[in-house]
Amino acid sequence: MSTLAETVTPEPLHLGRIRWIGFKTVVLREYQRIIRIWTQTILPSAVSQGLYFAIFGSLLGGRIGPMGGFGYMQYMAPGLIMMAVNINSYSNVVSSFYGAKFGKHVEELLVSPLPGWLIVSGYVTGGLVRGVLVGIAVTGVSLLFTHIHVQHPLIMVGAALLASIIFSLGGFLNALFAQNFDQVNIIPTFVLQPLYWFGGIFYSVPLLPHWARPISYLNPVLYMVNAFRYGFLGVSDVNIGAAFAIMVGAAVALFVAAILLMERGAGIRE
Protein backbone atom coordinates (compact mmCIF):
# COMPACT_ATOMS: atom_id res chain seq x y z
CA MET A 1 0.00 0.00 0.00
CA SER A 2 1.29 3.44 -0.87
CA THR A 3 2.51 5.79 1.78
CA LEU A 4 0.25 8.77 1.75
CA ALA A 5 0.39 11.87 3.89
CA GLU A 6 -1.50 15.09 4.38
CA THR A 7 0.34 18.15 3.14
CA VAL A 8 -1.84 20.47 5.21
CA THR A 9 -1.37 20.57 8.97
CA PRO A 10 -4.82 20.56 10.58
CA GLU A 11 -5.74 23.34 12.99
CA PRO A 12 -6.25 22.23 16.60
CA LEU A 13 -9.93 21.75 17.51
CA HIS A 14 -11.52 24.41 19.71
CA LEU A 15 -14.84 22.83 20.63
CA GLY A 16 -15.89 25.81 22.77
CA ARG A 17 -15.48 28.17 19.83
CA ILE A 18 -17.25 25.73 17.49
CA ARG A 19 -20.19 25.53 19.89
CA TRP A 20 -20.51 29.28 20.39
CA ILE A 21 -20.31 30.17 16.71
CA GLY A 22 -22.53 27.20 15.86
CA PHE A 23 -25.17 28.33 18.35
CA LYS A 24 -25.11 31.88 16.98
CA THR A 25 -25.44 30.51 13.45
CA VAL A 26 -28.51 28.40 14.32
CA VAL A 27 -30.16 31.44 15.93
CA LEU A 28 -29.19 33.74 13.06
CA ARG A 29 -30.58 31.26 10.54
CA GLU A 30 -33.86 31.16 12.45
CA TYR A 31 -33.93 34.97 12.61
CA GLN A 32 -33.29 35.19 8.86
CA ARG A 33 -36.14 32.79 8.26
CA ILE A 34 -38.53 34.77 10.48
CA ILE A 35 -37.69 38.02 8.70
CA ARG A 36 -37.69 36.45 5.20
CA ILE A 37 -41.27 35.27 5.61
CA TRP A 38 -42.49 38.02 7.98
CA THR A 39 -45.93 38.00 6.35
CA GLN A 40 -46.31 34.44 7.66
CA THR A 41 -44.46 34.82 10.96
CA ILE A 42 -45.15 38.32 12.34
CA LEU A 43 -48.10 39.83 10.51
CA PRO A 44 -50.85 37.22 11.07
CA SER A 45 -50.72 37.50 14.86
CA ALA A 46 -50.77 41.29 14.75
CA VAL A 47 -53.89 41.12 12.56
CA SER A 48 -55.70 38.38 14.49
CA GLN A 49 -54.99 39.91 17.90
CA GLY A 50 -56.15 43.26 16.51
CA LEU A 51 -59.44 41.57 15.61
CA TYR A 52 -59.72 40.19 19.16
CA PHE A 53 -59.28 43.70 20.51
CA ALA A 54 -61.81 45.11 18.05
CA ILE A 55 -64.52 42.48 18.59
CA PHE A 56 -64.09 41.34 22.19
CA GLY A 57 -62.67 44.59 23.49
CA SER A 58 -64.35 47.47 21.69
CA LEU A 59 -67.67 45.90 20.63
CA LEU A 60 -68.43 43.46 23.46
CA GLY A 61 -66.07 44.66 26.22
CA GLY A 62 -68.10 47.78 26.92
CA ARG A 63 -71.09 45.60 27.84
CA ILE A 64 -69.05 43.24 30.03
CA GLY A 65 -67.90 45.88 32.46
CA PRO A 66 -64.77 46.01 34.63
CA MET A 67 -62.85 42.89 35.61
CA GLY A 68 -60.26 42.61 38.37
CA GLY A 69 -60.65 46.34 38.90
CA PHE A 70 -59.73 47.20 35.27
CA GLY A 71 -61.60 47.88 32.07
CA TYR A 72 -62.22 44.66 30.11
CA MET A 73 -59.92 45.68 27.25
CA GLN A 74 -57.09 46.45 29.68
CA TYR A 75 -57.68 43.18 31.54
CA MET A 76 -57.68 41.14 28.33
CA ALA A 77 -54.63 42.77 26.68
CA PRO A 78 -51.85 40.95 28.62
CA GLY A 79 -53.47 37.56 27.96
CA LEU A 80 -53.79 38.25 24.25
CA ILE A 81 -50.15 39.35 24.04
CA MET A 82 -49.08 36.23 25.96
CA MET A 83 -51.16 33.99 23.69
CA ALA A 84 -49.52 35.49 20.60
CA VAL A 85 -46.03 35.11 22.09
CA ASN A 86 -46.57 31.47 23.02
CA ILE A 87 -48.35 30.28 19.91
CA ASN A 88 -45.70 31.90 17.72
CA SER A 89 -42.85 30.43 19.75
CA TYR A 90 -44.40 26.99 19.40
CA SER A 91 -45.24 27.24 15.73
CA ASN A 92 -41.83 28.71 14.84
CA VAL A 93 -39.92 25.77 16.25
CA VAL A 94 -42.33 23.07 15.13
CA SER A 95 -42.55 24.35 11.56
CA SER A 96 -38.85 25.18 11.22
CA PHE A 97 -37.53 21.93 12.70
CA TYR A 98 -40.12 19.70 11.06
CA GLY A 99 -39.51 21.55 7.76
CA ALA A 100 -35.80 20.80 8.16
CA LYS A 101 -36.64 17.14 8.81
CA PHE A 102 -38.99 16.99 5.85
CA GLY A 103 -36.49 18.73 3.52
CA LYS A 104 -33.64 16.67 5.00
CA HIS A 105 -31.55 19.80 5.66
CA VAL A 106 -31.66 18.94 9.35
CA GLU A 107 -28.76 16.68 8.31
CA GLU A 108 -26.63 19.82 7.95
CA LEU A 109 -26.82 20.12 11.73
CA LEU A 110 -26.76 16.42 12.55
CA VAL A 111 -23.47 15.81 10.73
CA SER A 112 -21.91 18.93 12.24
CA PRO A 113 -19.96 18.81 15.51
CA LEU A 114 -22.74 20.63 17.39
CA PRO A 115 -24.08 18.56 20.32
CA GLY A 116 -27.81 17.85 20.69
CA TRP A 117 -28.33 20.23 23.61
CA LEU A 118 -26.92 23.07 21.58
CA ILE A 119 -29.15 22.38 18.60
CA VAL A 120 -32.16 22.34 20.95
CA SER A 121 -30.98 25.62 22.52
CA GLY A 122 -30.54 27.24 19.11
CA TYR A 123 -34.03 26.34 17.93
CA VAL A 124 -35.57 27.37 21.26
CA THR A 125 -33.80 30.72 21.07
CA GLY A 126 -35.19 31.09 17.54
CA GLY A 127 -38.68 30.47 18.96
CA LEU A 128 -37.96 33.01 21.66
CA VAL A 129 -36.88 35.59 19.08
CA ARG A 130 -40.11 35.18 17.13
CA GLY A 131 -42.16 35.25 20.33
CA VAL A 132 -40.56 38.53 21.36
CA LEU A 133 -40.94 40.11 17.90
CA VAL A 134 -44.60 39.10 17.74
CA GLY A 135 -45.10 40.24 21.35
CA ILE A 136 -43.77 43.68 20.45
CA ALA A 137 -46.00 43.83 17.37
CA VAL A 138 -49.12 42.78 19.27
CA THR A 139 -48.34 45.20 22.11
CA GLY A 140 -48.14 47.94 19.49
CA VAL A 141 -51.56 46.91 18.15
CA SER A 142 -53.05 46.80 21.66
CA LEU A 143 -51.90 50.38 22.26
CA LEU A 144 -54.27 51.42 19.47
CA PHE A 145 -57.17 50.20 21.62
CA THR A 146 -56.17 50.68 25.25
CA HIS A 147 -53.59 52.10 27.66
CA ILE A 148 -51.06 49.64 29.05
CA HIS A 149 -49.28 50.24 32.36
CA VAL A 150 -46.44 48.01 33.50
CA GLN A 151 -46.46 47.57 37.28
CA HIS A 152 -43.72 44.94 37.58
CA PRO A 153 -41.50 44.94 34.47
CA LEU A 154 -39.19 42.13 35.61
CA ILE A 155 -42.11 39.81 36.33
CA MET A 156 -43.69 40.73 33.01
CA VAL A 157 -40.48 40.04 31.06
CA GLY A 158 -39.63 36.91 33.09
CA ALA A 159 -43.08 35.39 32.58
CA ALA A 160 -43.02 36.12 28.84
CA LEU A 161 -39.55 34.63 28.35
CA LEU A 162 -40.27 31.52 30.42
CA ALA A 163 -43.58 30.85 28.69
CA SER A 164 -41.94 31.39 25.31
CA ILE A 165 -39.19 28.90 26.19
CA ILE A 166 -41.75 26.33 27.37
CA PHE A 167 -43.77 26.60 24.17
CA SER A 168 -40.64 26.55 22.00
CA LEU A 169 -39.57 23.32 23.69
CA GLY A 170 -43.07 21.93 23.19
CA GLY A 171 -42.80 22.78 19.51
CA PHE A 172 -39.42 21.06 19.32
CA LEU A 173 -40.78 17.85 20.86
CA ASN A 174 -43.77 17.96 18.51
CA ALA A 175 -41.41 18.31 15.54
CA LEU A 176 -39.24 15.43 16.70
CA PHE A 177 -42.18 13.05 16.79
CA ALA A 178 -44.14 14.38 13.81
CA GLN A 179 -44.15 12.09 10.79
CA ASN A 180 -46.19 14.39 8.56
CA PHE A 181 -47.60 17.91 8.42
CA ASP A 182 -50.93 16.81 9.93
CA GLN A 183 -49.12 15.86 13.12
CA VAL A 184 -47.54 19.31 13.20
CA ASN A 185 -51.01 20.90 13.36
CA ILE A 186 -52.79 18.50 15.72
CA ILE A 187 -51.30 19.78 18.99
CA PRO A 188 -51.81 23.52 18.32
CA THR A 189 -55.38 22.95 17.18
CA PHE A 190 -56.66 20.37 19.62
CA VAL A 191 -54.51 21.01 22.70
CA LEU A 192 -53.12 24.53 22.76
CA GLN A 193 -56.18 26.41 21.55
CA PRO A 194 -58.50 24.94 24.25
CA LEU A 195 -55.85 25.54 26.91
CA TYR A 196 -55.73 29.18 25.89
CA TRP A 197 -59.46 29.74 25.71
CA PHE A 198 -59.75 28.25 29.20
CA GLY A 199 -56.50 29.82 30.40
CA GLY A 200 -57.90 33.01 31.92
CA ILE A 201 -57.27 35.38 29.02
CA PHE A 202 -60.86 36.50 28.74
CA TYR A 203 -62.10 35.99 32.29
CA SER A 204 -61.08 35.85 35.94
CA VAL A 205 -61.28 32.42 37.61
CA PRO A 206 -63.77 33.52 40.32
CA LEU A 207 -66.29 34.12 37.52
CA LEU A 208 -66.35 30.39 36.80
CA PRO A 209 -68.82 28.00 38.46
CA HIS A 210 -67.45 26.40 41.64
CA TRP A 211 -66.93 22.99 40.02
CA ALA A 212 -64.86 24.45 37.18
CA ARG A 213 -62.39 26.38 39.31
CA PRO A 214 -60.24 23.44 40.48
CA ILE A 215 -60.08 22.16 36.88
CA SER A 216 -58.98 25.58 35.76
CA TYR A 217 -56.05 25.47 38.15
CA LEU A 218 -54.77 22.33 36.37
CA ASN A 219 -54.28 24.38 33.21
CA PRO A 220 -50.60 25.50 32.99
CA VAL A 221 -51.51 28.37 30.67
CA LEU A 222 -53.52 29.94 33.52
CA TYR A 223 -50.28 30.43 35.47
CA MET A 224 -48.44 31.93 32.50
CA VAL A 225 -51.23 34.35 31.66
CA ASN A 226 -51.74 35.44 35.27
CA ALA A 227 -48.03 35.93 35.95
CA PHE A 228 -47.79 38.03 32.80
CA ARG A 229 -50.93 39.98 33.71
CA TYR A 230 -49.55 40.58 37.18
CA GLY A 231 -46.48 42.16 35.58
CA PHE A 232 -48.75 44.61 33.76
CA LEU A 233 -51.68 45.24 36.12
CA GLY A 234 -50.55 43.91 39.50
CA VAL A 235 -53.55 41.53 39.73
CA SER A 236 -53.55 37.73 39.47
CA ASP A 237 -55.81 34.72 40.12
CA VAL A 238 -52.80 32.61 41.15
CA ASN A 239 -49.85 32.90 43.50
CA ILE A 240 -47.00 34.48 41.50
CA GLY A 241 -44.30 32.43 43.25
CA ALA A 242 -46.16 29.22 42.44
CA ALA A 243 -46.64 30.37 38.86
CA PHE A 244 -42.90 30.93 38.38
CA ALA A 245 -42.05 27.64 40.11
CA ILE A 246 -44.38 25.78 37.74
CA MET A 247 -42.95 27.55 34.70
CA VAL A 248 -39.32 26.94 35.66
CA GLY A 249 -40.10 23.29 36.46
CA ALA A 250 -41.87 22.82 33.12
CA ALA A 251 -39.03 24.49 31.19
CA VAL A 252 -36.38 22.32 32.84
CA ALA A 253 -38.38 19.10 32.38
CA LEU A 254 -39.08 19.81 28.71
CA PHE A 255 -35.45 20.83 28.05
CA VAL A 256 -34.14 17.61 29.59
CA ALA A 257 -36.67 15.56 27.61
CA ALA A 258 -35.73 17.31 24.35
CA ILE A 259 -32.00 16.73 24.92
CA LEU A 260 -32.44 13.07 25.81
CA LEU A 261 -34.57 12.48 22.74
CA MET A 262 -32.05 14.33 20.55
CA GLU A 263 -29.18 12.26 21.92
CA ARG A 264 -31.16 9.08 21.23
CA GLY A 265 -31.90 10.35 17.75
CA ALA A 266 -35.66 9.97 18.20
CA GLY A 267 -37.39 10.84 14.95
CA ILE A 268 -34.20 12.01 13.26
CA ARG A 269 -31.74 9.11 13.16
CA GLU A 270 -32.17 5.56 11.92
Binding site: S2, L4, P10, I18, G103, V111, P113, E270
Partner: protein
Protein backbone atom coordinates in the same frame (compact mmCIF):
# COMPACT_ATOMS: atom_id res chain seq x y z
CA UNK B 1 -2.86 7.32 11.95
CA UNK B 2 -5.59 6.39 9.50
CA UNK B 3 -8.23 8.82 8.27
CA UNK B 4 -10.85 6.16 8.94
CA UNK B 5 -10.68 2.91 10.92
CA UNK B 6 -13.70 0.70 11.22
CA UNK B 7 -13.76 -2.52 13.25
CA UNK B 8 -16.49 -5.19 13.32
CA UNK B 9 -19.12 -2.62 12.44
CA UNK B 10 -22.67 -3.97 12.40
CA UNK B 11 -26.05 -2.43 11.77
CA UNK B 12 -29.43 -4.08 12.03
CA UNK B 13 -32.41 -1.85 11.28
CA UNK B 14 -35.66 -1.99 13.25
CA UNK B 15 -37.29 -3.95 10.43
CA UNK B 16 -34.69 -6.68 10.92
CA UNK B 17 -32.60 -5.91 7.86
CA UNK B 18 -28.93 -6.55 8.62
CA UNK B 19 -27.26 -3.83 6.56
CA UNK B 20 -23.71 -4.33 7.89
CA UNK B 21 -22.41 -7.70 9.05
CA UNK B 22 -19.10 -6.91 10.70
CA UNK B 23 -17.21 -4.48 8.49
CA UNK B 24 -13.46 -3.96 8.96
CA UNK B 25 -12.00 -1.14 6.92
CA UNK B 26 -9.05 1.22 7.05
CA UNK B 27 -8.52 4.26 4.86
CA UNK B 28 -5.09 5.86 4.95
CA UNK B 29 -4.90 9.60 5.33
CA UNK B 30 -4.34 11.40 2.04
CA UNK B 31 -5.92 8.55 0.10
CA UNK B 32 -8.49 8.81 -2.68
CA UNK B 33 -10.51 5.76 -1.80
CA UNK B 34 -13.35 4.10 -3.69
CA UNK B 35 -16.13 2.34 -1.80
CA UNK B 36 -18.15 0.40 -4.32
CA UNK B 37 -21.06 -1.95 -4.14
CA UNK B 38 -24.47 -2.65 -5.63
CA UNK B 39 -27.60 -0.87 -4.39
CA UNK B 40 -28.43 -1.96 -0.84
CA UNK B 41 -24.92 -3.30 -0.21
CA UNK B 42 -24.44 -1.15 2.89
CA UNK B 43 -22.36 1.78 1.55
CA UNK B 44 -24.73 4.53 2.62
CA UNK B 45 -25.31 2.84 5.99
CA UNK B 46 -21.55 2.75 6.58
CA UNK B 47 -21.24 6.44 5.66
CA UNK B 48 -24.31 7.21 7.79
CA UNK B 49 -22.70 5.62 10.84
CA UNK B 50 -19.42 7.46 10.37
CA UNK B 51 -21.26 10.80 10.02
CA UNK B 52 -23.69 9.94 12.88
CA UNK B 53 -26.84 9.96 10.75
CA UNK B 54 -27.29 6.26 11.49
CA UNK B 55 -26.85 4.66 14.90
CA UNK B 56 -24.61 1.59 14.77
CA UNK B 57 -25.62 -1.69 16.35
CA UNK B 58 -22.08 -2.84 17.19
CA UNK B 59 -18.39 -2.36 16.48
CA UNK B 60 -16.31 0.78 16.50
CA UNK B 61 -15.27 3.57 14.17
CA UNK B 62 -12.50 6.14 14.44
CA UNK B 63 -11.94 9.26 12.36
CA UNK B 64 -8.33 10.45 12.54
CA UNK B 65 -8.10 8.57 15.81
CA UNK B 66 -11.25 10.11 17.32
CA UNK B 67 -13.65 7.42 18.52
CA UNK B 68 -17.20 8.22 17.38
CA UNK B 69 -18.54 6.82 20.67
CA UNK B 70 -16.39 8.91 22.98
CA UNK B 71 -15.20 11.88 20.88
CA UNK B 72 -18.03 12.35 18.43
CA UNK B 73 -17.77 16.14 18.18
CA UNK B 74 -14.06 16.00 17.36
CA UNK B 75 -14.61 13.18 14.88
CA UNK B 76 -17.40 15.06 13.11
CA UNK B 77 -15.32 18.24 12.94
CA UNK B 78 -12.89 16.32 10.70
CA UNK B 79 -15.53 15.18 8.21
CA UNK B 80 -17.20 16.86 5.27
CA UNK B 81 -19.97 14.88 3.66
CA UNK B 82 -21.72 15.11 0.30
CA UNK B 83 -24.76 12.86 0.61
CA UNK B 84 -26.51 11.00 -2.14
CA UNK B 85 -29.76 12.95 -1.80
CA UNK B 86 -30.04 16.71 -2.02
CA UNK B 87 -30.35 17.95 1.55
CA UNK B 88 -30.12 21.71 1.62
CA UNK B 89 -32.89 24.24 2.13
CA UNK B 90 -34.19 24.91 -1.37
CA UNK B 91 -35.49 28.35 -0.31
CA UNK B 92 -32.11 29.63 0.78
CA UNK B 93 -29.43 31.02 -1.52
CA UNK B 94 -26.18 29.11 -2.18
CA UNK B 95 -24.17 31.74 -0.31
CA UNK B 96 -26.45 31.56 2.75
CA UNK B 97 -26.33 27.76 2.71
CA UNK B 98 -22.54 27.51 2.64
CA UNK B 99 -21.91 30.39 5.07
CA UNK B 100 -24.33 28.89 7.60
CA UNK B 101 -22.74 25.48 7.19
CA UNK B 102 -19.36 26.98 7.99
CA UNK B 103 -20.89 28.47 11.12
CA UNK B 104 -22.05 25.05 12.28
CA UNK B 105 -18.36 24.08 12.26
CA UNK B 106 -17.25 27.15 14.18
CA UNK B 107 -15.92 29.22 11.25
CA UNK B 108 -16.37 32.95 12.02
CA UNK B 109 -18.66 34.76 9.59
CA UNK B 110 -16.05 36.98 7.85
CA UNK B 111 -13.85 33.95 7.16
CA UNK B 112 -16.92 31.95 6.07
CA UNK B 113 -17.76 34.66 3.53
CA UNK B 114 -14.21 34.56 2.13
CA UNK B 115 -14.37 30.77 1.80
CA UNK B 116 -17.84 30.96 0.26
CA UNK B 117 -16.50 33.24 -2.47
CA UNK B 118 -13.52 30.95 -3.08
CA UNK B 119 -15.45 27.66 -3.29
CA UNK B 120 -18.50 29.02 -5.09
CA UNK B 121 -16.17 30.53 -7.69
CA UNK B 122 -14.13 27.35 -8.02
CA UNK B 123 -17.31 25.35 -8.53
CA UNK B 124 -18.78 27.92 -10.94
CA UNK B 125 -21.67 28.90 -8.68
CA UNK B 126 -20.66 32.46 -7.79
CA UNK B 127 -23.03 34.03 -10.35
CA UNK B 128 -25.92 32.18 -8.71
CA UNK B 129 -24.96 32.96 -5.12
CA UNK B 130 -28.02 35.14 -4.42
CA UNK B 131 -30.65 32.99 -6.17
CA UNK B 132 -32.85 30.50 -4.33
CA UNK B 133 -31.22 27.07 -4.49
CA UNK B 134 -34.37 25.48 -5.92
CA UNK B 135 -33.69 27.34 -9.19
CA UNK B 136 -30.29 25.73 -9.75
CA UNK B 137 -29.79 22.99 -12.33
CA UNK B 138 -29.14 19.41 -11.19
CA UNK B 139 -25.38 19.74 -11.76
CA UNK B 140 -25.27 23.04 -9.88
CA UNK B 141 -27.08 21.51 -6.91
CA UNK B 142 -24.50 18.71 -6.79
CA UNK B 143 -21.66 21.23 -6.93
CA UNK B 144 -23.33 23.29 -4.20
CA UNK B 145 -23.26 20.25 -1.93
CA UNK B 146 -19.54 19.84 -2.60
CA UNK B 147 -18.90 23.53 -1.85
CA UNK B 148 -20.91 23.22 1.35
CA UNK B 149 -18.95 20.15 2.48
CA UNK B 150 -15.64 21.97 1.91
CA UNK B 151 -16.46 25.13 3.87
CA UNK B 152 -14.80 23.94 7.07
CA UNK B 153 -11.91 22.46 5.06
CA UNK B 154 -12.39 18.93 6.34
CA UNK B 155 -9.55 16.45 6.60
CA UNK B 156 -11.85 13.69 5.36
CA UNK B 157 -14.31 14.32 2.54
CA UNK B 158 -16.95 11.63 1.99
CA UNK B 159 -18.73 11.75 -1.34
CA UNK B 160 -21.77 9.53 -1.77
CA UNK B 161 -22.60 9.41 -5.49
CA UNK B 162 -21.48 13.02 -6.06
CA UNK B 163 -21.86 12.98 -9.84
CA UNK B 164 -25.18 11.13 -10.11
CA UNK B 165 -27.25 12.70 -12.86
CA UNK B 166 -24.50 15.16 -13.84
CA UNK B 167 -23.58 15.61 -17.49
CA UNK B 168 -20.17 14.42 -18.65
CA UNK B 169 -18.62 17.89 -19.02
CA UNK B 170 -19.54 18.91 -15.49
CA UNK B 171 -18.48 15.50 -14.21
CA UNK B 172 -15.01 15.88 -15.72
CA UNK B 173 -14.60 19.34 -14.20
CA UNK B 174 -15.70 17.93 -10.82
CA UNK B 175 -13.07 15.19 -11.18
CA UNK B 176 -10.37 17.80 -11.76
CA UNK B 177 -11.55 19.74 -8.74
CA UNK B 178 -11.61 16.66 -6.50
CA UNK B 179 -8.14 15.61 -7.68
CA UNK B 180 -6.85 19.04 -6.71
CA UNK B 181 -8.53 18.89 -3.27
CA UNK B 182 -6.97 15.47 -2.73
CA UNK B 183 -3.57 16.69 -3.93
CA UNK B 184 -3.73 19.43 -1.29
CA UNK B 185 -4.07 16.76 1.40
CA UNK B 186 -7.75 16.03 1.90
CA UNK B 187 -8.54 12.34 2.22
CA UNK B 188 -11.45 11.43 -0.02
CA UNK B 189 -13.81 8.46 0.19
CA UNK B 190 -15.95 8.11 -2.92
CA UNK B 191 -18.93 5.92 -3.60
CA UNK B 192 -20.13 5.90 -7.17
CA UNK B 193 -21.97 3.82 -9.70
CA UNK B 194 -19.74 5.20 -12.46
CA UNK B 195 -16.92 2.70 -12.26
CA UNK B 196 -14.89 4.68 -14.77
CA UNK B 197 -14.98 7.47 -12.18
CA UNK B 198 -13.59 5.22 -9.45
CA UNK B 199 -10.93 3.79 -11.78
CA UNK B 200 -9.87 7.25 -12.92
CA UNK B 201 -9.75 8.94 -9.52
CA UNK B 202 -9.08 6.40 -6.79
CA UNK B 203 -5.86 4.75 -5.64
CA UNK B 204 -7.43 2.20 -3.30
CA UNK B 205 -10.71 0.41 -3.36
CA UNK B 206 -13.08 -1.66 -1.26
CA UNK B 207 -16.06 -3.51 -2.64
CA UNK B 208 -18.94 -4.07 -0.27
CA UNK B 209 -21.72 -6.51 -0.94
CA UNK B 210 -24.46 -7.86 1.28
CA UNK B 211 -23.10 -5.95 4.29
CA UNK B 212 -19.58 -7.37 3.99
CA UNK B 213 -16.33 -6.19 2.43
CA UNK B 214 -15.70 -8.66 -0.39
CA UNK B 215 -12.53 -7.01 -1.72
CA UNK B 216 -10.01 -4.46 -0.47
CA UNK B 217 -6.92 -3.67 -2.53
CA UNK B 218 -4.97 -1.11 -4.49
CA UNK B 219 -6.83 -0.14 -7.65
CA UNK B 220 -3.85 -1.05 -9.88
CA UNK B 221 -3.42 -4.46 -8.19
CA UNK B 222 -7.10 -5.21 -8.56
CA UNK B 223 -7.11 -4.31 -12.23
CA UNK B 224 -4.15 -6.64 -12.86
CA UNK B 225 -6.35 -9.51 -11.76
CA UNK B 226 -8.48 -9.09 -14.83
CA UNK B 227 -7.47 -12.15 -16.84
CA UNK B 228 -9.20 -11.40 -20.11
CA UNK B 229 -10.28 -8.15 -21.70
CA UNK B 230 -12.55 -7.71 -24.68
CA UNK B 231 -11.55 -5.07 -27.23
CA UNK B 232 -13.87 -3.61 -29.84
CA UNK B 233 -12.05 -2.90 -33.13
CA UNK B 234 -13.45 -0.83 -35.98
CA UNK B 235 -12.28 -1.87 -39.44
CA UNK B 236 -11.76 0.61 -42.30
CA UNK B 237 -13.55 -1.63 -44.84
CA UNK B 238 -16.61 -3.86 -44.52
CA UNK B 239 -16.00 -7.49 -43.52
CA UNK B 240 -17.98 -10.47 -44.78
CA UNK B 241 -17.11 -12.73 -41.82
CA UNK B 242 -15.08 -12.78 -38.63
CA UNK B 243 -11.39 -13.48 -39.43
CA UNK B 244 -9.69 -16.55 -37.87
CA UNK B 245 -7.00 -15.52 -35.40
CA UNK B 246 -5.55 -18.61 -33.68
CA UNK B 247 -5.74 -18.27 -29.89
CA UNK B 248 -8.00 -15.20 -30.01
CA UNK B 249 -11.78 -15.61 -29.97
CA UNK B 250 -13.15 -13.13 -32.52
CA UNK B 251 -16.76 -12.11 -33.19
CA UNK B 252 -18.15 -9.92 -35.98
CA UNK B 253 -20.85 -7.74 -34.45
CA UNK B 254 -21.56 -5.74 -37.61
CA UNK B 255 -19.81 -5.46 -40.96
CA UNK B 256 -17.24 -2.94 -39.63
CA UNK B 257 -16.87 -4.09 -36.02
CA UNK B 258 -14.96 -6.94 -34.42
CA UNK B 259 -14.78 -8.04 -30.80
CA UNK B 260 -11.54 -9.75 -29.77
CA UNK B 261 -10.85 -11.40 -26.38
CA UNK B 262 -7.24 -10.89 -25.26
CA UNK B 263 -5.87 -12.65 -22.17
CA UNK B 264 -3.09 -11.35 -19.91
CA UNK B 265 -0.53 -13.69 -21.54
CA UNK B 266 -1.31 -12.38 -25.02
CA UNK B 267 -0.71 -8.93 -26.51
CA UNK B 268 -2.42 -6.53 -28.80
CA UNK B 269 0.58 -6.12 -31.14
CA UNK B 270 0.14 -9.75 -32.13
CA UNK B 271 -3.56 -9.16 -32.85
CA UNK B 272 -2.81 -6.11 -34.99
CA UNK B 273 0.00 -7.95 -36.84
CA UNK B 274 -2.29 -10.82 -37.77
CA UNK B 275 -5.10 -8.54 -38.84
CA UNK B 276 -2.65 -6.64 -41.08
CA UNK B 277 -1.55 -9.91 -42.66
CA UNK B 278 -5.21 -10.57 -43.47
CA UNK B 279 -5.51 -7.10 -45.03
CA UNK B 280 -7.74 -5.74 -42.30
CA UNK B 281 -6.96 -2.14 -41.27
CA UNK B 282 -8.11 -1.08 -37.79
CA UNK B 283 -9.09 2.59 -37.54
CA UNK B 284 -10.11 2.71 -33.87
CA UNK B 285 -10.31 0.57 -30.75
CA UNK B 286 -11.89 0.65 -27.29
CA UNK B 287 -12.50 -1.64 -24.30
CA UNK B 288 -15.88 -3.33 -24.52
CA UNK B 289 -16.61 -2.61 -20.86
CA UNK B 290 -14.77 -0.69 -18.21
CA UNK B 291 -12.13 -2.93 -16.66
CA UNK B 292 -13.21 -2.19 -13.12
CA UNK B 293 -16.79 -2.88 -14.05
CA UNK B 294 -15.84 -6.35 -15.19
CA UNK B 295 -14.04 -7.16 -11.94
CA UNK B 296 -16.85 -5.58 -9.93
CA UNK B 297 -19.49 -7.71 -11.62
CA UNK B 298 -17.45 -10.87 -11.05
CA UNK B 299 -16.96 -10.15 -7.36
CA UNK B 300 -20.56 -9.17 -6.79
CA UNK B 301 -21.89 -12.11 -8.81
CA UNK B 302 -19.65 -14.41 -6.77
CA UNK B 303 -21.15 -12.93 -3.64
CA UNK B 304 -24.67 -13.56 -4.91
CA UNK B 305 -23.78 -17.13 -5.88
CA UNK B 306 -22.30 -17.76 -2.46
Amino acid sequence: MNALSVRALTKTYKNGVQALKGIDLEVERGDFFALLGPNGAGKTTLIGIVTSLVTKTGGEARVFGYDIDRELEAAKACIGVVPQELNFNMFESPETIVVNQAGFYGIPRPEARRRAERYLKQLQLWDKRDKAARGLSGGMKRRLMIARALMHEPRLLILDEPTAGVDIEVRRSMWDFLREINRQGTTIILTTHYLEEAETLCRNIAIIDGGRIVERDRMSTLLLRLHTETFVLNASAPLAAAPRLDGYPVRLTDDHTLEVDVSKEQNLNDVFGRLSQLGIQVVSMRNKVNRLEEIFMRLVDKGVAA
